[in-house]
C-alpha cells in the first residue's frame, strides 16, 4: 500500500512521462510532496501561471508526439487550464491534465477553492473523470493516457480529491490497451480505397489538401510516396505545414484565409479534391456554398464525425491515413500533372510580384515582418522549431518560414489562442534542449503570458524569442481598416520597454528598429548560448495578404 499521491507520480513515470508542467496549491500539495521524492525520474517545470503550464505541455506534446502532462490545484488552478484544454481539443493535442480537488466529504459544499472542474471542462476534453479513492487513481491515469494518445488525440482531465491523494491504496500499474465503448481506429475498407483510387485515376486535375492528420498519424513518408507516384499538386493547412518538404515538386503552397493565392484559387478548378487528415475548417474553405462544388471529394480521415461534416465526401476512406495512404498509393497509377501544376506556378508568380517581393525585400523604410522571417531562415538550423502566437505575425511567419521537416510547427490553429506561443515554446524546448526553438510573437500576445519569461529564466531553456512589435493588435487593426472604416477601436498599444523587461528576467535582449543591423541581430541571436529576446520594431500598419475575407469564396482571394 502506498499513498495516493505517490500512485499519481509513479503512474506518470510508468507512462514514461519525462516532464510535467505545473503549479502547486492546497488541493494538489500531496502530489507535490510526492514529486519531491521522484525528481530524478520525472522533471517538474514550475510555470508562472497554470495557463502557461498547459500551453507548455501542448508545445511539448506537439514536437514530441507524446502526451503532454500538466498539473494544477483545484479552483482557480483548474479553471486556468480551460483555455489550454479548449485549444488542445480543437487542435487534437494529446494531454493528460491532473487537478487537485477538495476532499470528497467537502464536494458540493462550496469549500475553499472548490470548483466543478469536471463539469466545466466537459465540452473541452476528450474524456474526464473525478477520482475519489486512492485505488482508483492508477486505472484512471492509465485510461487517460490511452484515450489522450489513441485515435484522434485530445486532452484528458483527471480530477483527484485530496483525500484520495493522502489515503493509501494498492499500486499495480496496468496500462490501458482498450476500452469496450471506445474505438479509436477502424479497419480500412478495401472498397473505399478502391473507389477513391478510381476517382483519382480518372482525374484530369486532382488536388491534394493535407493537414495535421498526416503529422499525428506519422504518415509523412506515405504522403510523399503517394505524391511521388501520382505527381498531384498538394497544398497544406496551417497545422499540416512541414509534413512534406516545401521543396517537393508537388508542393504548391498553403491553404486558407492568409494562405497562398494559387492553392486557394485553384481549389475551385480541380476535378478531384483529395483531403488527407484535414477537417475543412472555415478558415480553409471560406464560403462552403461556393467551395469546390465542381470537384469530386476523396476524404482520408480517422474521425468518423469529420466525414461529411462540412464538405460532402464522394469517396470517404475512414481510418488511419498512414495505412490508407499506402493502400491508395498501391491502387493508383504512376502519373504526372505538369500542365495542371504549371497553373499553380503561374498564379504563384502573380503572388510573388504583388505580395511576396514587398514582404521579403521591401523598399520602404519601415521593417516588414516578412523580412525578419527571411533572416531567420537564413540563420536557423534545418530542424529548428517555429512556435507562433496568433495574429499577423503568425500568418507571416507561417507563410515565409522555411519548413524542412515535420513537427517543426507549433501554433494555436483552431482556437486562435493569444498568449500561446511563449509557454508553448518553453514546452517545446524542454523536450529537446539541443533543438533551436524560435518563438515568434506579437506585442499583444506576448503580454498575455509574459510572466513565463520567469520560467525561461529559471529553466534556462534556450528559447529564441522574436517579438515583432507594431504597437498594435495588428490583425484586428487590419480588419478595422478593411471592414470597419479605419475606426481603430482599442487596438493601439502603449507598450512597456520590452528590453528592460527581458533583462529584468536576466534574459539577454536586443532591439532593432531599422534595416541596417537586422541581419546581424538575427545572427547574434542564434549564436547566443541560452535564451534570447530580440525585439524588432516593424511597420505599424502593414497588412497580411493574400486574404480571403469572411464569407467570401476561395476564388475571391485578394492580393491587396
Amino acid at each position: 500500500m502506498i499513498r495516493g499521491a505517490d500512485i499519481v507520480v509513479r503512474s506518470l513515470i510508468a507512462e514514461n512521462a519525462k516532464h510535467i508542467f505545473g503549479y502547486p496549491g492546497g488541493a494538489i500539495m500531496p502530489v507535490y510532496d510526492a514529486l519531491y521524492d521522484y525528481s530524478d525520474q520525472i522533471r517538474h517545470v514550475l510555470t508562472r501561471h497554470e495557463q502557461g503550464a498547459i500551453h507548455a505541455a501542448q508545445g511539448y506534446a506537439r514536437v514530441s508526439g507524446q502526451v503532454g502532462v500538466a498539473l494544477a490545484t483545484s479552483g482557480p488552478g483548474a479553471t486556468n487550464l480551460i483555455t489550454g484544454l479548449a485549444d488542445a481539443m480543437i487542435d487534437s493535442t494529446p494531454l493528460v491534465c491532473i487537478t487537485g480537488q477538495v476532499a470528497a466529504h467537502l464536494l458540493g459544499t462550496d469549500a475553499f477553492q472548490e470548483t466543478d472542474v469536471v463539469g466545466i471542462s466537459m465540452p473541452v476534453t476528450k474524456w474526464n473523470i473525478q477520482v475519489r479513492r486512492a485505488e482508483d487513481i492508477a486505472p484512471a491515469i492509465a485510461k487517460g493516457f490511452h484515450i489522450a494518445r489513441s485515435g484522434r488525440p485530445g486532452p484528458v482531465l483527471i480530477d483527484i480529491t485530496k483525500n484520495a491523494q493522502t489515503e493509501a491504496g494498492e499500486f499495480n500499474y496496468v496500462p490501458c490497451l482498450s476500452i469496450r465503448s471506445y474505438r479509436p481506429y477502424f479497419e480500412i475498407k478495401k472498397d473505399e480505397v478502391q473507389k477513391a483510387a478510381e476517382l483519382i485515376k480518372a482525374a484530369q486535375r486532382p488536388y491534394v489538401l493535407y493537414g495535421q492528420g498526416v503529422v499525428i498519424g506519422k504518415a509523412e513518408a506515405e504522403l510523399k510516396a503517394f505524391l511521388d507516384k501520382t505527381g498531384i499538386p498538394a497544398a497544406c493547412t496551417l497545422l499540416g505545414s512541414g509534413a512534406i518538404s516545401e521543396e517537393h515538386p508537388s508542393y504548391v503552397g498553403k491553404l486558407g484565409m492568409h494562405g497562398n493565392y494559387a492553392p486557394n484559387m485553384l481549389t475551385n478548378h480541380c476535378d478531384v479534391l483529395i483531403a488527407i487528415g484535414m477537417r475543412f475548417d472555415d478558415r480553409v474553405t471560406g464560403d462552403l456554398k461556393r467551395y469546390a462544388k465542381q470537384a469530386k471529394v476523396v476524404h482520408l480521415e480517422l474521425d468518423p464525425a469529420e466525414i461529411n461534416k462540412n464538405v460532402f465526401a464522394d469517396a470517404p476512406v475512414l481510418g488511419d491515413c498512414k495505412q490508407s495512404l499506402s493502400m491508395l498509393t498501391e491502387a493508383v497509377e504512376i502519373n504526372s500533372h505538369d500542365e495542371w501544376l504549371s497553373r499553380f506556378k503561374e498564379l504563384e508568380l502573380l503572388e510573388k510580384e504583388s505580395v511576396i517581393a514587398n514582404d521579403l525585400s521591401p523598399t520602404k523604410v519601415g521593417l516588414t515582418m516578412g523580412e525578419v522571417i527571411r533572416f531567420i531562415n537564413q540563420y536557423k538550423a534545418d530542424d529548428a522549431i517555429l512556435v507562433t502566437d496568433v495574429g499577423q505575425h503568425q500568418m507571416i511567419a507561417w507563410r515565409y518560414f522555411d519548413y524542412k521537416t515535420s513537427k517543426t510547427q507549433v501554433t494555436s490553429g483552431g482556437l486562435g489562442t493569444m498568449g500561446f506561443a511563449l509557454p508553448a515554446a518553453l514546452g517545446a524546448q524542454m523536450y529537446d534542449y539541443s533543438r533551436q526553438v524560435i518563438c515568434v510573437v506579437g506585442d499583444g500576445g506576448i503580454q498575455m503570458t509574459i510572466q513565463e519569461l520567469g520560467t525561461i529564466m529559471q529553466t534556462k531553456a534556450p528559447v529564441k524569442v522574436v517579438l515583432l512589435n507594431n504597437n498594435f493588435l495588428g490583425m484586428v487593426r487590419q480588419w478595422q481598416q478593411m471592414f470597419f472604416d479605419r475606426r481603430y477601436s482599442f487596438t493601439e498599444l502603449d507598450n512597456p520597454d520590452f528590453i528592460k523587461l527581458a533583462e529584468a528576467y536576466s534574459i539577454k535582449a536586443s532591439k532593432v528598429s531599422v534595416r541596417d543591423g537586422l541581419s546581424e541581430a538575427v545572427a547574434d541571436m542564434f549564436l547566443h548560448d541560452g535564451p534570447y529576446f530580440l525585439e524588432v520594431v516593424v511597420e505599424k500598419e502593414d497588412n497580411v495578404f493574400p486574404m480571403i475575407a469572411t464569407g467570401c469564396s476561395v476564388e475571391e482571394v485578394r492580393l491587396s
Binding site: 473523470i129 473525478q130 484515450i147 476500452i179 469496450r180 465503448s181
Partner: protein, 170 residues
C-alpha cells in the same frame, strides 16, 4: 425537419448524460424528450432522446454522440422505424368521477391506478397525440395535474449491442 428517436447505449458513468446533452446545447437543438434507464445488458444504460431536426443534423448529432468515449453505440430512427410509447398520468378531483368520466376512461382504454379520498389518478399509455387527446378531453373535468413521460422505444430494424461488443477489434 423530421422527428427522430435516438437510442444510445452507454457505460453507466457519472456525467455521461451531461456529455450527451451538451452536444445538443452547443448546436442550439432542443431535446423534446429524454428517458434513461438500465438496458437489458448488465452495466449498460440505454438513453432515448426524441428531437426534431434535419437529416444532416441527425447524422452529425449521432456521430458526435458516438464519439464520446463512454458511449458504446448510438442509432437514430424515423418514427416509422420504431415502436414507441409514452405514459401519461392525470389527476382529477374525486367528485369529477361520474358516469361520463368513466365512459371516457373506458373509451380510451385508460386505467384508474389510484383512488384517494380527494382525487383519482388515471394512467394512459400511447403516442403523444393520444395522451394529448385524453388531456384535452379531461380538462373540462377539473383536471388537477398532468404528467407525461418521454418516449421509450424499441427499434424495428435488428441490431445487437452485445454482438457489437463481442465483435470489437482494436
Amino acid at each position: 425537419m423530421n422527428r427522430y428517436t435516438i437510442l444510445i447505449y452507454t457505460e453507466n458513468f457519472i456525467g455521461i448524460l451531461n456529455r450527451i446533452t451538451i452536444i445538443f446545447t452547443r448546436r442550439g437543438i432542443n431535446i423534446d424528450a429524454l428517458t434513461a434507464s438500465e438496458s437489458r445488458l448488465d452495466g449498460i444504460h440505454k438513453i432515448t432522446i426524441e428531437c426534431a431536426v434535419t437529416e444532416e443534423q441527425i447524422i452529425q448529432l449521432v456521430k458526435q454522440i458516438e464519439k464520446i468515449t463512454d458511449v458504446i453505440k448510438a442509432y437514430y430512427f424515423m418514427d416509422t422505424e420504431v415502436v414507441y410509447q409514452e405514459i401519461a398520468l392525470y389527476k382529477l378531483p374525486i367528485d369529477s368521477l361520474d358516469a361520463s368520466l368513466e365512459k371516457v376512461i373506458r373509451q380510451y382504454n385508460a386505467h384508474i391506478i389510484a383512488a384517494e379520498k380527494e382525487f383519482v389518478v388515471i394512467e394512459f399509455t400511447g403516442h403523444k397525440e393520444d395522451t394529448q387527446a385524453l388531456l384535452e378531453t379531461l380538462k373540462p373535468y377539473n383536471l388537477l395535474e398532468f404528467s407525461r413521460s418521454g418516449r421509450v422505444a424499441i427499434a424495428k430494424p435488428r441490431f445487437s449491442v452485445s454482438e457489437y461488443l463481442n465483435n470489437q477489434t482494436l
